[in-house]
Amino acid sequence: MSVKVRIPTPLMKLTNNQAEVSAEGGTIADILNNLESQFGGIKERICEENGTPRRFINIYLNEEDIRFLDGEKTKIKDGDEVSIIPAIAGGVL
């Protein structure tokens, strides 16, 4: 399966400044591993060592937060869109 993955701006330096990239895999975990093979270092920014998303990172499959699906085991199909978004925004003090 090939899906489009939307990358948050702070990680774009790892994706050659691309806001959207393509990744292959049958589950979210596969996609994250595939991203790592394309863009070394990106997975550790997104996931804990055990592969689950860090507490402040939300991953969406199309419109839905994967925490409410099957987590990183969530299956994907061709043409799906994956979005990686920090749960909160950096900003002002």
Binding site: R6, K13, F56, E63, P86, I88, G90, G91, L93
Partner: protein, 332 residues
């Protein structure tokens, strides 16, 4: 003149106290972190309880300063709409102050800020919210706010908190003086997080005048992608115009997960519920305490977690018990 009560010549509806809610900005308590300080012989750690400001955060100080300086300069007039980018706290402050003073307020914030924040502003204070891309964080909100302003500059008063000297002056004029008095001039170290840089810049500049020996450190997230709302990782962000690293003694990096764990420590050991950036500030203060032989370390707790963070971090169970959240989307 109001209606006069003929029995005692007092107004029928007397003004009991001559204090606007806006007078409740500033003069916040300085809290001694008693149990955390016990880890360090001869060092005491204090935190400025900024959630006690009207508006609920440290940002009420610069917001009021920027608005009142705008009024004084004639740039802010009644027909103008106050417009700025924010990740939350400044927006709440603008909305409150606008409500009291009679200004309309339009706020640009990333679509992924904590939903309770938008609720506070939109529901209670009537601000208009424009959502920017959740992928772009606070920098996306800055850029979108500028675009909105530039399309119709006569319509808006844009404080531009990242580049407005009134931001840091609020702390230079008030916060630092309060800390100086509250510590009887015994403060030896100061540290605060960087968002716009207003807090660290204003306090540092005043402390340089009051006692140049006070060491001043900025705290920032350790990584570019982080979960410390309100804070900026400088190397990967638009650097605010008011931020001048050269006046500081150094910077301290804090990892998001460490700050989340510290939230629980603060609750268990000190009995206080604060936001993530306060927990990160505590870690910065503790790093200074590790290195100091003795001293009085003061940091700033920007906000509490009573309403704005209840569905986050250690409240993950609460969060996950709620309905699924939809992908946050920008308005355009």
């Amino acid at each position: 003149m109001g209606h006069i009560n003929q029995n005692n010549l007092a107004p029928a509806c007397p003004v009991i106290v001559d204090q606007s809610i806006l007078k409740k900005i500033g003069h916040t308590p300085l809290i001694h972190l008693e149990n955390i300080s016990k880890r360090y012989p001869n060092v005491e750690i204090y935190a400025k309880a900024e959630w006690r400001n009207a508006g609920g955060s440290v940002k009420s100080r610069p917001a009021l300063q920027m608005i009142e300086d705008g009024e004084a300069s004639g740039q802010l007039t009644k027909e103008k709409i106050i417009l700025d980018s924010t990740s939350g706290n400044t927006g709440i402050a603008y909305a409150l102050i606008g409500k009291i003073k009679g200004y309309r307020v339009k706020l640009v914030m990333p679509a992924n800020v904590i939903k309770e924040r938008k609720g506070v502003m939109a529901d209670f204070y009537g601000a208009e919210i424009v959502s920017s891309s959740p992928f772009e964080g606070s920098d996306g909100a800055i850029i979108l706010a500028k675009e909105i302003y530039e399309k119709d500059p006569d319509k808006y008063f844009m404080p531009d908190q990242y580049n407005n000297d009134s931001n840091w002056r609020a702390h230079y004029l008030h916060t630092a003086e309060e800390i100086w008095k509250q510590t009887n001039g015994e403060i030896t170290h100061f540290c605060a997080g960087i968002g716009t840089g207003g807090t660290i810049m204003g306090n540092t500049r005043k402390f340089r005048e009051l006692n140049p020996k006070i060491l001043c450190y900025a705290m920032e997230p350790a990584e570019e992608l982080h979960g410390l709302e309100g804070l900026k990782h400088m190397a990967s962000s638009i650097v605010p115009g008011i931020y001048d690293e050269s006046i500081l003694d150094g910077k301290i990096s804090v990892a998001t997960e460490d700050a989340y764990d510290m939230l629980e420590t603060l609750e268990k050991e000190e009995g206080i519920l604060v936001g993530h950036s306060s927990a990160a500030a505590t870690l910065a203060a503790m790093e200074l305490a590790e290195k100091a032989d003795k001293g009085v370390i003061v940091t700033v707790f920007p906000d509490s977690c009573d309403t704005t963070y209840i569905n986050f971090s250690k409240f993950k169970e609460f969060y996950e018990s709620q309905s699924p959240t939809a992908l946050p989307k920008a308005d355009n």
